[in-house]
């Protein structure tokens, strides 16, 4: 999968969890850029991403992501 494809899937997942439409995210987006991206929604997003891509993150990964780009990199890494 390309990074753009992963971002497209991520966008859909986030829109559902954050309950917004027309979310625009890029590799540089950070949590504070998105209004409803708090820790509670973050963990729900993680669960949804894991289900969607059929992967598992480690607890360290979840805490250390700095931006969307790093999430995408983690996903790419797992998908191999």
């Amino acid at each position: 999968m390309s990074n753009a494809e992963i971002i497209a899937d991520l966008t859909k997942i986030m829109e559902k969890i954050f309950d917004v439409s027309d979310l625009k995210i890029s590799m540089d987006t950070v949590a504070t850029d998105v209004e409803d991206w708090d820790s509670l929604n973050h963990i729900q997003m993680v669960v949804a991403v894991e289900k969607h891509f059929k992967i598992k993150f480690s607890s360290t990964e979840i805490q250390n992501w700095k931006n969307v780009g790093e999430i995408v990199a983690s996903i790419q890494n797992k998908l191999g």
Partner: protein, 575 residues
């Protein structure tokens, strides 16, 4: 059901929901998602939960401080989720030599919390118990030493049951069973816990909030009283009309074990007080034969309250069963293996619960058990006689037809009623009747056993209960009156309720005669009644008017001096 679905319910319109219940949520782990899930699940069962969520890890502070937000929230239910993780930390902090006392100290602490709540509010407490997981410090030897965590944990769970037997306002949310059914490893998400402190995976929130809601609704008076069974391929395998007595699968024949399991469960429900009825498309004599003659049948004719087997449609037959039992459709469950019949019954009687039985009869019982259909908030010794009472009722109904007029019939019944102030002996039955009565209930006040005990000793109240028996049988305790002394010269009827099994017996007039007599002998001039409508009690909308009360604003009153006793055929007895 997934958490996302519960969460999406939060956007729905809750305004139309009639049942509004105030719940407080206290936890020592983050409870935000639990709160969302509970609110969202409420929508599924048409309940608008107004939830007060305490700040994180405030269980003790909120309960022990009488001025806390908890008490200000005036919640009817206080849900307390103390996590096993936190209990474990407390346990590990204890010096080794003191660990054998951990459980009893913990129970003392819970008792103290429960007592404090009881002193400050009439709210019911719903407390989570603990999943029993071995910490692998002692291995299996932990079962042989009081110093192990799981030894103390199991002792706590057992002691919580003992405690809740005695503390009437305390109910246990059996998280331990829930986790065991789902499998502990399937319901925890260690990563989730490490990152957020939340103890369970998202999708386990559904069974947890369903369980909480089941308990609340049972306390609130919404629970199942009756199980209606289809016969062929539901109660036994095969078709009795085709396969004959020797050919149906029950016991060791074919997959008979699956049906034996289901029957055994139904029999246990009956012993607990659930009414078992049969509704089958069959010739009656053929359908009854296995109950009378098959050696492997668990259910027998005397386990069945109403037996309906004919070739009419099932909607009409279930309506007939309902008319004999006189209970709401929403308190009845219908089991049928045939999807066509299920759908027809669902369409015809929307309030009825009709579980979507799995195709394989082997899965019937685990599926039904997973639904927790028969939650209850009370149990009394009388419950197991309920089937017999309804069998007698069916007999009464057929005798009634032979009388020319109603008075003659009532006279022939030779009715007797014990009239008594509430006494200790009857507390469980009185509380239970207040929980169960929905239709003939003027103000629908629910009383726990604790509430009833308080009423007995409260000098501002007169409380009367009534039993009824006739030549066919004994109904037991069937009506309650709670009278409150108003300021001045009037008595207010805080509660007037009656079991619908004794409708049309002249009991209402007999009860009113006793109310007025109580007022008269204690020097009151007026008796005031009030009708508070609910979704269920339309039956008594005209109750006070019919009994000759005069309307005064939103209340009804009767003048004691002017009152003439109502005619009836019930003889008061002293037992």
């Amino acid at each position: 059901m997934e958490f996302a679905q519960l969460k999406s319910n939060l956007k729905k319109d809750f305004n139309g929901l009639k049942t509004k219940l105030k719940v407080a949520l206290l936890g020592d782990t983050p409870t935000q998602l639990l709160k969302q899930a509970l609110k969202g699940y409420g929508y599924e069962v048409a309940v608008d939960f107004e939830i007060f969520e305490a700040d994180f890890d405030q269980i003790d502070q909120q309960i022990l401080d009488p001025t806390s937000e908890l008490y200000q929230s005036e919640s009817d239910y206080i849900v307390i989720f103390a996590s096993v993780q936190k209990v474990q930390l407390k346990f590990y902090k204890k010096p080794l030599e003191k660990r054998k006392d951990f459980a009893s100290e913990y129970i003392d602490y819970v008792r103290h919390l429960a007592n404090t709540i009881h002193d400050n509010t009439t709210a019911r407490i719903i407390l989570f118990n603990f999943p029993e997981i071995n910490d692998s410090v002692f291995g299996n030897f932990s079962n042989k030493t009081e110093m192990s965590f799981i030894y103390q944990l199991r002792k706590i769970n057992l002691s919580l049951m003992d405690l809740s037997r005695n503390v009437k306002n305390l109910f246990i949310n059996d998280l331990c069973s829930l986790e065991a059914t789902a499998g502990h490893n399937n319901v925890i998400d260690q990563k989730f816990y490490i990152n957020t402190g939340m103890t369970h995976s998202l999708d386990f929130l559904y069974p947890v909030v369903k369980n909480i809601t089941d308990i609340i609704l049972a306390i609130h008076g919404k629970f199942k009283k009756c199980l209606i069974l289809d016969l062929d391929n539901t109660t036994w395998g095969g078709i009795i009309g085709d396969d004959g007595l020797e050919g149906i699968q029950i016991g060791d024949l074919g997959i008979g074990k699956a049906f034996t399991q289901l029957q055994t469960w139904a029999k246990e429900l009956k012993e607990r007080g659930i009414i078992i009825c049969i509704c089958s498309k069959n010739t009656e004599s053929v359908a009854m034969e296995p109950f009378e003659k098959h050696p492997d049948m668990v259910l027998r004719m005397n386990d069945v309250a109403v037996f309906v087997a004919n070739w009419e449609n099932k909607v009409d037959n279930i309506r007939h069963i309902q008319s004999v039992l006189n209970i709401g459709f929403d308190s009845m469950v219908f089991l049928d293996d045939n999807p066509f019949e299920r759908n027809m019954v669902r369409m015809g009687i929307p309030d009825l619960t009709v579980p979507e039985l799995p195709e394989d009869p082997a899965d019937y019982l685990p599926y039904l058990q997973s639904l927790n259909l028969f939650e209850t908030a009370s149990h009394s010794a009388e419950d197991k006689n309920r089937t017999e009472q309804y069998q007698v009722e069916a007999k009464r109904v057929s005798v009634q037809k032979s009388f020319a007029n109603e008075d003659e019939f009532l006279q022939s019944l030779e009715m007797k009623s014990k009239v008594s102030a509430f006494d200790k002996f009857s507390v469980p039955r009185i509380a239970q009747l207040s929980m169960r009565s929905n239709q003939f209930n003027l103000r629908t006040v629910r009383y726990t056993e604790q509430d009833i005990e308080n009423l007995i000793s409260n000098p501002f109240y007169y409380n009367i209960y009534f039993t009824l028996e006739d030549k066919f049988g004994d109904y037991g305790l069937i009506s309650l009156i709670v009278l409150k002394k108003d300021n001045g010269d009037s008595l207010f009827i805080e509660t007037w309720l009656m079991s619908c099994r004794v409708l049309k017996r002249g009991m209402e007039g007999f009860v009113l005669n006793n109310i007025v007599a109580t007022a008269r002998s204690n020097g009151f001039k007026k008796v005031i009644g009030e009708y508070i409508p609910t979704a269920k009690n339309d039956m008594v909308r005209g109750h006070y008017k019919n009994l000759g009360f005069t309307e005064r604003g939103d209340k009804w009153e009767i003048d004691v001096a002017q009152y003439e006793d109502k005619k009836n055929f019930i003889l008061p007895i002293q037992k």
